[in-house]
Amino acid sequence: MDFSEKEALRYLGFRGKPADADTLALLHGVSAAASACIQPKSIYKEVSLRRVTAEETEIGGIVFHSRKLQAHLKDSDRILVFAATLGANADMLVRRYTAENTAKAAVAQAVLAAMTESYCDEICDRIAAEEGKNGWFLRPRFSPGYADLALSAQRDLFSLLEIPKRIGVTLTDTCLMLPTKSVTAFIGLCKTPSCKTENCANCPDTECAYRKEGIQYEIS
């Protein structure tokens, strides 16, 4: 599967510095193994969207509390609930490497995280192409746990889609997703274009005039 090598290296702490040959060799070996074992799956559905107050948005009949989500959706007239995963075997691969070689495990973690992002982008590009025919643009994905949308909003999001049954992603009592290489999100649809990526620092368009310095995610 295609993924951004740069992104994976950033997760590993290189922050734009060139990676050494050993790390690159490890990364290429691991990404081949990862591509062979993942089972990417996604599901999405359009639901109703209604603004209740400045911080309450009713999505699919359920009220979500988040000022930032509402601001994010301010130009959106429609909304999709989205979920995607690389499947249970992605976690298995990291566990296997942990038993064998810690460096490989850390690199796999980073590669799989980058693959998850690319896979989500790929599906969203497909949706965007379809919706674009009718003049709709996709807003960046907005997930529970972003900004002031609590992670516990996962429970409500999960009730809007048959996520466990259709793509095998489940929620723990602490609202973490298993398999871990999974994403859920709301995606607004609006009639005016906007940038594709929510987090500027994650955006592949490094030449963009509006680019801001964002948080650097790293493995911890």
Binding site: L12, Q39, E46, V47, A99, T102, T174, E218, I219
Partner: protein, 791 residues
Amino acid sequence: MKFREKLGTEMLIFDGAMGTQLQARGLQAGELPEVWNITHRDIIREIHRAYVQAGCDILKTNTFGANALKFEGTPYTVSEIVQAAVENTRAAAAQTEREIFVALDLGPTGKLLKPYGELEFSKAYTLYREQILAAKENVDLILIETMGDLYEIKAAVLAAKENADLPVAVTMIFDEQEKLLTGANIETALFTLEGLGVDMIGFNCGLGPVQMLPLVQKISKIGSTPIAVNPNAGLPVCVNGVTSYNVSPAEFADALAKIAGCDGVQAVGGCCGTTPAHLAAAVRTCKGIQPKSVKEKTFTVVTSYDRTVYMGEHPILIGERINPTGKKRLKTALLEGDEGYIFSEAVAQADSGAHVLDVNVGLPEIDEPAVLERTVQGLQSITDLPLQIDTSDTGAMERALRIYNGKPLINSVNGKQESMDAVFPLAKKYGGVVVCLTLDEHGIPDSAAGRIKIAEKIIKTAESYGIAKKDLLIDTLAMTVSTGADNAEITLEALRYIRYTLGIHTVLGVSNISFGLPKRDSINAAFFTLAMENGLSAGIINPKSDAMMNAYYAFCALKGMDNNFKQYIAHVTDSAVPAKAETGTDLKTAVVKGLKAEAGEQAKQLLQRTAPLEIINTHLIPALDIVGQGFEKGTVFLPQLLMSADAAKAAFDEIKQVIVQSDADTEKKKDKIVIATVKGDVHDIGKNIVKVLLENYGFDVIDLGKDVSPEVILETAKREQVRLVGLSALMTTTVANMELTIALLRREYPACKIMVGGAVLTQDYAKRIGADFYSRDAMGSVRYAEKLFAE
């Protein structure tokens, strides 16, 4: 008539969808459909009745998600819901003269089972049992459906078989790549379920009848069990935000008829998107099809949770390394609960080409049932090779068989009545292929004829327990040649007869042949080749031995089992890469450069002339410091730091080998640290990195794993009297549990220090939840521990 008697006499028609029917009648997203059994009885009965009128024979109760996890916090108990559902179904069935069967419908729990997820296997079992106990008096069969995880299916099947005497049907949801959500392919799921003695196996949901046909054809070719198929009304299409299924009743019924015509298919029906109209059409096209009988297949197979190994295509290699007999290092690992070492043995054997791994943890000092269960479960979380459960303790055997995900090899039974009476019932209940040793109350016969006679007795007894010949592997016992010149020939003669005259697959513990002789590898490899030529189906060998692997690949190449010599060439190319150290590289350089094999080799050489402690202090620690300081300065990055850590670990393993063998406690008493990822958190990569580094620096790390409750952390810290506890948490929701853990430790065990780390933590945050130290990266925790223990 009972369902089992009816099965196979005529095509039985399952009903269609419940969920999409309820949505059409106003069920809202997020609402539990099973509550309608009580709140909307009339609607539920009306739907069931419509399917009866359509001509269906089997009604599924509206209990798909009626488990305690989903009903927690609702005003209803599972048993109320299930009983109401069964009553509704029975009421609809009673409105016709025709014979209608009621199937208790069980769906997935909605949680992932360990090791993929957080739900314990035993908890999944309990959830299903609750549903079964509520319904069993009033239903005709149990249908476990829309299942995407083989392990969860096993929990449900065991719950069904142990708590009711009803036929059990299982239908699974495969994707277009023909995989379950947790990765199993069709054959693996099929053979595992046949091992568990399921009455019907098949598919539902996910696909329409057209896409499902190739899957049915596949299972029909390899399976020996009646097949049930309930497809959707096509693939889901999302139009204007609404999911719908577009295949018309007529198209559905025509495609379903093709499925019904496949060998072994004895029941068909519908799933999502199908309506009474679809089923009425299906009754017209399928009811008249006389089901073809199921042909008994003779494959001898073992499986893991996602792959199947067939006996007979080429000799199967069973890796023998996870067995403490004669292996001090493994013995120590087992006694210390050092899973990491056991796992690395598994991975190394898998990488060497093993097809199956033997697992034996038998030591007088340990609680074998508990350790075997834990080890089997642990191994299945890191390898997808099938396992051979190797124990003489039938209690341990049962516990391992119960939690094994797949169809394992069972090692072993022998010709003693007592052994057969203990092992065969377990094999029958849980499924598996049994290794049968040709010895009995009178010992090991010293003739081929004697061993063959015992084999025949075992085969006959197995049959009386309902175990077919295909599920046996006969071991004609390799006896050391140094005690009898005929020993090899006796074994081989018996082997030949059993494999080619009786037609049963065979196995040998190959290495036994050379006990007491020098250069055992040569004898083992020659005997292995002879045995393969004389009908050995599977050899229990050391896959890390070049001689054995050379023999294996050469044999396959010579016997036309290796297409274009691909495997042979790959093997010789692989082993041509020198694993030996480059000349001129010392241990320190090897560690700094992160060269694992070289570091191990250098340590081995140094050990011949240097004391273990001196190697650690003058070579390893300085090397680690160079890398560690580079990491802190930002000139060395995480992968390089870890490559060095792994190289150092390889050197430490060599050193440990020597210390274990000398049996002398020359190691200095190490400082103990407990580390854990807190309760509710499943992201443990950071914790694992910290562990490796701390171990490199000589700390004795007690790793409690992930999702660890505050109580377990406290109890361990107190028991081991540690001075330092390290906690990791990734998300804001789980930092709350970190805070609880810290509070508990402070209250009950104030003597210990607590360091924390994880993505959402900051210095400030860590201070607020009461930690002593916040480590921003893995090296930080090493530095803190060094400082603390130096005090």
